[in-house]
């Protein structure tokens, strides 16, 4: 018998287990009775309307919000999550892009959780940060100021920062928002690559088509977990109606169900979000644009 001393990497241990979780702000729950088991190596998309608790869930998993009830365990470890197991990218609107730091500076910040207070970063940290930039193909731009980057590049820098300490679980808050179709697919390809290196990815998104075509599992959230499972099994009219309520308009055409979501947070409205698999799952059958 071999015993892993550092991390219990038995395949059966869920990357993330959430049990009867209630969490919110000022004692008022936003999330109610969430139960969720995410397997190692999965890419999981959390979908739900604005205010459904996507960010709250991610922040609670990170330990930024204390649960009102219930618990979160990461790779079998309960209580406060061990920082080096988790990587996180915040919503880009929450980041100050005018701050005078370079791409390399930001990637290096990802190593701070490995260094204690008062400790300076080492050569090892800088090499790890550079390797992380290589991974997201941002190494050549390492001396750029972050304010000079495009939307897709900004996403990749944040991802490099999240990856710099080699986490086992990546939590990405709205990584797709504001990206064009090409940049979205590049990001999703990158996530596939990270998954192949053993990472588990949990991302929140409004984009149903990306979840149905590129995620292993979908978690439909509207303060409660409405459904969780393979996109082809979960993303049906019943579940989406319960998740999005009146925000979603379902249209049937040629045996396919189309979901139109009303965007309130981006320019334009009535954007076509996806075609939904009815019966047959069609992994890549919808053009963006």
């Amino acid at each position: 018998m071999t015993t892993e001393t550092t991390i219990n990497t038995t395949k059966s241990t869920p990357a993330l287990a959430v049990r009867d979780l209630w969490a919110g702000y000022d004692g008022k729950p936003v999330l109610e009775a969430i139960n969720l088991n995410i397997d190692q190596g999965d890419i999981v998309g959390i979908i739900g309307p604005n205010g459904s608790g996507k960010s709250t869930l991610i922040k609670t998993i990170l330990g930024l919000i204390k649960p009102l009830r219930g618990e979160v365990s990461i790779l079998g470890r309960e209580g406060s999550p061990e920082r080096h197991l988790v990587g996180y990218t915040p919503q880009t609107e929450l980041v100050d892009w005018d701050f005078p730091v370079t791409v390399a500076d930001v990637a290096l910040m990802g190593r701070y959780s490995r260094r204690g207070l008062f400790r300076r970063t080492t050569k090892e940290d800088r090499e790890a940060a550079d390797a992380s930039l290589e991974l997201v193909k941002m190494f050549d731009l390492r001396d750029r100021l972050i304010g000079e980057l495009s939307g897709g590049q900004r996403r990749r820098v944040l991802l490099a920062r999240a990856m710099a300490h080699n986490p086992k679980l990546l939590l990405l808050d709205e990584p797709m928002a504001g990206l064009d179709a090409t940049a979205q697919h590049q990001l999703l390809d990158l996530l596939d690559e990270l998954r192949s290196k053993g990472a588990t990815v949990v991302l929140s998104t409004h984009d149903l088509s990306c979840v149905s075509s590129r995620c292993d599992k979908a978690a439909c959230l509207n303060r409660r977990l409405i459904a969780f499972g393979k996109p082809s099994e979960v993303l049906n009219e019943q579940v989406l109606g319960d998740t999005f309520g009146t925000h979603l308009l379902m249209v049937h055409l040629d045996g396919q169900a189309y979901a139109y979501q009303h965007h309130t947070h981006t320019e334009g409205s009535g954007v076509i979000e996806t075609n939904l698999p009815e019966g047959d799952s069609r992994p890549d059958g919808y053009s963006h644009d």
């Binding site: 701050f99 005078p100 730091v101 370079t102 910040m109 300076r120 970063t121």
Partner: protein, 272 residues
């Protein structure tokens, strides 16, 4: 003159470094408020014949913590909290000063600084406080940088963000106290903001910005003091005028961000 130069240089040094964080985090008026409200502490000390410096210090520390606490806790916006602390401390200070016989002359010294009248003891005190602030910043540079840039992510990395969010205003408050003698309550803001703002026009990354800020702060202080000495002008305002001139020069002629070069570059050039 020597004492004045030393005292003002210490003040400029610490202001220039702290000022960079102030400019990046938009905390300018927080520093101004702490300075103004310290008049209360100074006048209490003055009234009872104590040290004006420690009076200001004793007031600035709780004032800067109170601003942060009020804005975090009581659902009061930061600028509102700043306004309350600013005005209340200043009001109390003026009331107390009005009970002193040569009210106007002494008040003038507190408001606009009197660096030429600084004693060796005060020089040492200013140097000590400035050194203390710089020591804290250099040991916690990594954390201050990360928290200032992205508080959520730094909390997720295990950095004590709440501590940092109290620490920075506290450092700003202490810094203003160290600078009161040099430029006075009313003009502290300029020493805190102008060199740092000038530096953001000249350098790209944070270490470069801090370096430029120090250089600009020291040049302003030394040149301003010489100007005031030889032209017989009040010292604080002279320092501020030089600093502002340097800022304007950078705004116009900075190689990367200067208005003049930008206009030059964007003007249509004849195609070859």
């Amino acid at each position: 003159m020597q004492r004045a130069l030393l005292a003002a240089s210490f003040a400029a040094l610490v202001c220039s470094v702290v000022g960079v964080f102030v400019v990046l985090r938009g905390m300018a008026f927080m520093g101004d408020a702490v300075a103004h409200s310290s008049l209360a502490g100074m006048s209490v000390a003055y009234f009872f014949g104590g040290s004006v410096f420690w009076g200001a210090f004793a007031w600035a520390v709780p004032a800067s913590l109170a601003i942060t606490y009020i804005s975090r806790r009581a659902n009061v916006r930061l600028d509102t909290a700043i306004g309350i602390i600013f005005a209340s401390g200043f009001a109390v200070g003026i009331i107390l000063m009005s009970q002193v016989s040569n009210y106007t002359a002494d008040l003038f010294g507190l408001l606009f600084g009197n660096v030429l009248g600084v004693s060796w003891g005060e020089v040492a005190l200013i140097g000590l406080v400035a050194g203390g602030v710089l020591l804290v910043i250099s040991t916690l540079y990594k954390e201050l940088l990360f928290t200032a840039y992205d508080a959520t992510m730094s909390a997720a990395s295990g950095i004590p963000v709440r501590f940092m969010q109290y620490l920075l205003p506290l450092l700003v408050g202490i810094t203003t106290v160290a600078s009161l003698k040099a430029v006075g309550i009313v003009l502290v803001l300029a020493l805190l903001v102008t060199p740092a703002a000038t530096a953001t026009l000249l350098a790209r990354r944070l270490p470069g910005i801090i370096t430029f800020s120090i250089v600009v702060g020291l040049i302003s202080t030394i040149a301003g003091l010489y100007l005031s000495f030889h032209a017989d002008l009040p010292s604080g305002p002279s320092i501020v005028v030089v600093a502002t001139a340097l800022f304007l020069a950078a705004l116009l002629f900075s190689p990367s961000k200067g208005v003049v070069w930008q206009a030059w570059r964007s003007s249509p050039l004849p195609q070859e």
